[in-house]
Symmetry: C2
Subunit: 187 residues, 2 copies
DNA sequence: GAAAAATAGTGAGCCAGGTCACAGGTGGGG
DNA sequence: CCCCACCTGTGACCTGGCTCACTATTTTTC
């Protein structure tokens, strides 16, 4: 639970016990079952989530009901609808679990508090935000340059374990292709 | 020059004169002509750039020589190859001007120094990084959901001024379509 | 101010990937 | 143990967008 968080934080910054106690006190813990939503499109989202265990999908559903997966959130990931989180508007996306999950929740107030009281935490989140930006940019490139089957191959190389945790249809809506096309790729 | 930076910073945080002097002393100023590169794919990039005036493109060129535009950097934008900047590797992208530009340069050392000495600056960069992440995520969504002509229309609505500053071919490689397809869109 | 280089538009043909429809497999709940 | 809901594969067909080729126009460059 919390040691997972500490281990994760200490990959980037080092913390005294008292610092970590303050940090830990800012989070609340929650356990959710498969298929539950942490939030849905339209909700106000004023929390961010640290995934201790389990797997979730961040999805956007368009008018016609088609669902696109923006990202998978798994162990040691931070996720939220950051636009809603930052600007206080309604969420454009939903965050739904694909497995039972153990989550730590950080409210926006506590996020701000942590950034102010422990400057190292602001740095930590800065690193994470930049990493998120880099990842999203690479996804843009990949969508523009690479064919569906290229993207599929790259994912297999980068996250081989993921393949066994999700269904093919789920995978397809992450890769940005139809279920049928993905099915035909492997041959 | 520097008042542009101060105005920009004070949209998010407020600064005393002494604080701003420290900040300003961390930047160096540079003027570049149209078509110059601030860096190229493969370079080490240990600086980030604040655009005072002018317009640049952040591009990725693939093996076949085809060029994709990741983003346009214009007045009041920060740009760099953030992966190279963060992790110290070679740049995957190039940053090239489309117009004459006035740039302020912040080295990685000074970036770190500013974040440490003026916590407000860490917060500022955190906001900007999150905003960058949000923007890139929306681009991912748009590439997955929308047709070329949708993306074209959206761009016209969001950045009408941009259209008059760039060529159609440049625009096409930002939208992720071929020059010919873009030409046929307007019909 | 002519030659060279970008920039634009347009036709023709092609193909990756989308949609629709159907059929077989799998698994967990009652 | 069976049923229903979900997942997966596959065929048929269609279309948005790509490539190639050529021409016209505008912009640079010397």
């Amino acid at each position: 639970m919390e040691h997972a968080l500490r281990r994760h934080l200490e990959e980037l910054i080092s913390l005294s016990n008292t610092e970590f106690e303050l940090i830990a006190s800012c989070f609340t813990s929650r356990r959710i079952k498969k298929k539950e939503f942490l939030f849905r499109q339209g909700d106000r989202v004023s929390e961010m989530y640290f995934i201790v265990s389990g797997l979730l999908k961040l999805i956007y559903t368009d008018e016609s009901g088609k669902e696109r997966i923006l990202s998978f959130a798994m162990e040691d990931w931070w996720e939220s609808d950051y636009e809603a989180f930052e600007r206080g508007g309604p969420a454009k996306m939903s965050l739904q679990s694909l497995e039972n999950c153990q989550i730590l929740i950080l409210s926006k107030e506590n996020f701000t508090k942590l950034c102010n009281e422990i400057p190292k935490m602001a740095q930590f989140f800065l690193h994470k935000a930049i990493a998120g930006h880099i990842a999203a940019q690479q996804r843009v490139l990949s969508l523009m340059n690479d064919s569906a089957s290229d993207r599929f191959d790259q994912l297999i190389q980068r996250q081989p374990s993921l393949i066994h945790r999700i269904s093919k249809s789920t995978l397809a809506s992450y890769l940005g292709v139809s279920r049928e096309t993905l099915s035909r790729l492997s041959r």
